[in-house]
């Protein structure tokens, strides 16, 4: 079971409230899909600069594995306050700990509502419905 202290998107990002801010990251499923269990398959990750305004459902960054470049989609709208730049040079963190050390950006959300996002149980079902 994945952490139930956060919400999830259909495109395999997570968002977690942390005080007045929110943290974004990607799930273990997303990491496995990109890396096939091989850390070195993850090649690059581009994250936004602090101050950038993000829109829910729109791209906030990009990640490349040896197989594909994929967009990272913002679960909620808000302003980027802080970026986990450590990830950009240490992509293996995403495989080892996608839920904590693997956070990508800290955002000041425009709303605290997480309506429309999946809870852990719904995300589990979503992942199970993927044919792979």
């Amino acid at each position: 079971m994945r952490p139930d202290d956060r919400k999830y998107t259909q495109t395999h990002e997570w968002v977690k409230a942390d005080g007045d801010t929110m943290l974004f990251g990607i799930t273990d499923f997303a990491v496995k899909e990109l890396s096939n269990g091989n850390d070195s398959d993850l090649v690059y990750c581009d994250l936004p600069e602090p101050g950038r305004a993000l829109v829910a459902g729109e791209t906030f960054g990009e990640i490349e594995s040896v197989k594909a470049v994929s967009d990272l989609n913002a679960p909620v709208s808000g302003e980027v306050l802080e970026v986990n730049t450590h990830i950009e040079e240490h992509l293996e963190v995403l495989s080892k700990d996608p839920w904590n050390a693997g956070w990508m950006v800290r955002v000041k959300p425009t709303t605290k509502s997480l309506e429309g996002l999946l809870d852990a149980a719904a995300y589990e079902k979503h992942v199970a419905s993927q044919k792979h």
Partner: protein, 237 residues
Amino acid sequence: MITTWRAAPAFNMALDQALLESVGAAPTLRFYTWKPETLSLGYFQRVAEVPAAQKTRIVVRRITGGGAIHHANELTFSLAADQTHPLYDCAIGESYARIHRALAVALAEFGVTAELRGERPLASDRDDTGMCFHASTALDLVWNERKGVGSAQRRKHGRVLHHGSIKLDTTPLEGDIATLAATAPGLSAETLAPRVRAAFERELGLAFEASVPDFDERQRTKELAPHFVDPAFVKRR
């Protein structure tokens, strides 16, 4: 299915992005060639890591990942579809394997026995060229112990764009790779394309109709084209 032979480099890249963004569209297979010949960088590649970029007059940056490709003596194709389409409704690696298995069927018609690389090094593997054909993964399509098809994907907003380059012959910037020159000398991209289309239809259960980009796709292509030759994008890394 769209064919655009001897098209401008910026147009080639812009139309592929427009097809990627064409949400809900039926799978679109596109075949094309380049005029003039062009070097394309992978989305995240550093220009400094691709010595061939200094030897080529025209350089673009793709929206797909991977290494640089010298677009000469090749058939280039793209295959865009929703991620939920049966073609792409699978793990990323499996989508490569599906496309490559279908390509292998087409290539067999031209005397080549192509297979997925698997866990072995290739004679075409090189360090420090930054070229796609000189780096390989287990899912690459190979023959004669060399990489013969360059492949890369972009996934955006529920859509997938798969890029492929099939080499008809070597180029000065991509020596010692697998091509069709030995078994099918003089083969043209225009002759190979219909056989690849037929193999994709048969092996992947798809049906393509000859078409042209729709109005929105043409407009988007015009908007996007300058971006792909803009030094701010091409030399951004």
